[in-house]
Amino acid sequence: MRRILLTVVAGLSVVVLARDGLEAQRAARTLPAVPVAAPSTAVPRGPSPVVVQTSTDSVVAAERAARMDGFAEARRLGVNYVPGEVLLKFKRGTTVAAQQRVLAAVKTRTTTGQLRWIGDVARFVDRSLPYSDQTAALLALQSEVEFAQPNYIRRLPARVSPRTLPMPVGAIPEGVPNDPGYADLQWNFSILNMPRAWDISPGGSPGIIVAVVDTGLTTENTTLVRTLWTGSRFESVTMPFQVSPDLAGSRVVLPRDFVFELGTRVLDFDGHGTHVASTIAEDANNAVGLAGIAYQVKIMPVKVCTGYWEEMIDRASRGIPGTIPPDFGECPVDAIVAGIRYAVDNGAKIINLSLGGPDSSQAEFEAIQYAVQHGVFVAAAMGNSGDEGNPTEYPAGFAALTGFMSVGSTNKAQKRAVYSSFGAHLEIMAPGGEFTGVGDDEGYVWQMTLDPFDQDPHLTNRPRFDRYGVIGYLGTSMATPHVAGTAALLMSRGITDPKLVEAVIKGSALDLGPAGRDDQFGYGLVQPRAALFGFGVAR
């Protein structure tokens, strides 16, 4: 089937492309985690800010290579953790010698000095012990260990539309932003009565920082020239990057890459992170693209996930030929933990986690707890397994934490999207889309992000990351930033306690399904306008 693709190119030129249809499902992009500073001496540690080591290129390359090797090994073994990696926490007061004794229990050559510390959690790496679940179980038996768990891998619960849309043109109705795609495509904002919410809080406050812990959001216009395997040989490929034309660079602050470049430059090789960030904060009323919920707040891109192209670049840099499965990507928990703590320690007030996986991680739980305790509201995706056995996914499974909310997905009809996971831990619903095939939007959630056809491994082996389009995604990944954006608007109005933010979001939700909270819809559909406007006696 032919699809018409109109892509808004960076610089706002428009290109129309004809494409063969391809249900490009990027259900899972996972990304590797980032190294954080290793303490020079392994003294007993308490909670402390994440300190990212200033990495030399060789250190970065080595760290990246180790990660990618780990991901490759995970694929080979068919496990959902990074083989040879364990996150463990020693009990308070455990001496360095005692820590070494603990490590000796698993007959590793790794010393305490080689542990990578993320706050008070240590990342233990020994590739000769690939079955991390067994290693963690042995470590957990030691009396000095508070917990030890494999370094699990999270996925991105989103699927991308098989096409991009031409930017609608025509009259813009009164009372809505003048972004050309708003009226025709952003059904999700209409359902949430966003124009009336913006009357109260016009895009939120520039003083509020929302951390998007994801695949990243490109923070600079640059060009990478890297060797890539192009199907039959290695070639030097020029890969241009541009920042989003509809998310002002001045509103992108304190970026950090915890998985690929391990520095302060963030490049999105996927588009997922940019889509999520755009739902939260895409520029509005600028006559370009679409709108975001909190279009005045600042975005902190925290890259904790890598995808196909990062791994392909790494493989080629080490002379490994061939390709990997195209729908592959990883978000290791150690990077997520580091990213959360980094966001908290650097002034973020809201954290968006559009990622998840089936394994509960204590390190991740404690990182979220750390965030909430420091006044940061956290929203996490429920997962897209509602029609695939509906397992509890994490971090959404930690919803009992006050100030942290799990977010499910509704479709245009305000029903639970069939893929949206559900259960006793479901707290709130937001539009995440569901394919309908009806109308221009076809039921997707549309935002400006990287044109997926520029990076689809099925279509190209010379990717580029400088062209943006109006792209439809669906998934609880897309629902989550609606809640994060709402929280940003609330915080902009002075409701800054994450526990109160959660109470307001729940208390103002539109009850769906059976009266009161239920496992299919939680407390109902998030209502930014009602949350901001509150209630009087009678109405």
Partner: protein, 269 residues
């Protein structure tokens, strides 16, 4: 100190007739009011006359006597009087039935109102007709309620309540000069209710009227020729006025009525 006594009851209190019997219990309330009067006017004494009515005997109070005053010389039946009136200003202190809702929105479950009323007295014997209105404008702030958590969202809320009441009841007046009145009534009222706030869109504001019912009872004291002061208790109910939306829904409260204590001062004839 004066004492409240029931020396005897007249069997020929024809001017009171059935009315006194029906409202006999009001005398007990009057007793309480008498005690209150003792605190306000400690030199005054109330006593019950030979015809069974309460009298207000200043002389005994002035003489310092503590003995009950018993009238001699048979019952004294005041001459029947024509239709009178009572006009007063009122201050209402209402404990709202939707207590949690008002506490959340206005910070207090009590509402203060000011207004006035006019009454036609002795329409037929003790029957009187009452009409009045009060106005309350408690200030509040819009909130979100979740379980026991109330979160103000920073948007002021103006509430205006204007009940216009009509009632009919029975009134008895006692004392040689009929200085003390006790009454009870029941009736209806129409409550004009408005909520408004900044950022309100179409349909957000409330401007409705509801019909409720009320019962009231009170005591008053006439001082001098015309000046009257009194207290009154009211129970008002406006069922199903609220509770469908708003904070009242979160609390499951649906009645805009309340229990009101009214202080009044005015004139009467």
């Amino acid at each position: 100190m004066g004492l409240y006594s029931r020396a005897r009851r007249s069997s020929d209190s024809e001017s009171r007739g059935d009315g006194n019997r029906v409202l006999n219990s009001c005398f007990r309330c009057a007793g309480a009011f008498t005690l209150a009067c003792q605190l306000v006017w400690p030199t005054a004494t109330l006593a019950q006359g030979s015809d069974g009515e309460l009298t207000f005997d200043v002389r005994s109070a002035q003489s310092g006597s503590t003995a009950p005053v018993v009238r001699r010389g048979g019952p004294q039946v005041p001459p029947r009087r024509g239709v009178g009136y009572r006009l007063y200003f009122a201050a209402d202190f209402t404990s709202m039935l939707a207590a949690d809702t008002f506490a959340a929105v206005t910070g207090s479950s009590h509402v203060t109102a000011f207004g006035g009323a006019a009454e036609l007295l002795r329409v037929w014997r003790g029957l009187f007709l009452h009409g009045g209105a009060t106005y309350a404008a408690p200030a509040g702030e819009r909130v979100v309620v979740f379980n026991d958590t109330v979160v103000p969202v920073g948007i002021p809320l103006e509430i205006r309540m204007l009940p216009i009441e009509a009632a009919a009841g029975w009134r008895i007046e006692t004392g040689r000069t009929r200085a003390v009145g006790a009454y009870a009534a029941a009736g209806l009222f129409r409550l004009g209710y408005r909520e408004s706030s900044a950022f309100a869109a179409t349909g957000d504001e409330v401007d409705k009227s509801f019909t409720g019912y009320l019962v009231l009872a009170g005591l008053d004291l006439t001082m001098g020729k015309r000046l009257v002061a009194g207290i009154e208790g009211q129970y008002r109910s406006v069922p199903n006025a609220i509770g469908q939306l708003g904070a009242s829904r979160a609390y499951g409260e649906s009645d805009l009525g309340g229990i009101t204590a009214r202080v009044l001062i005015g004139i009467r004839k």
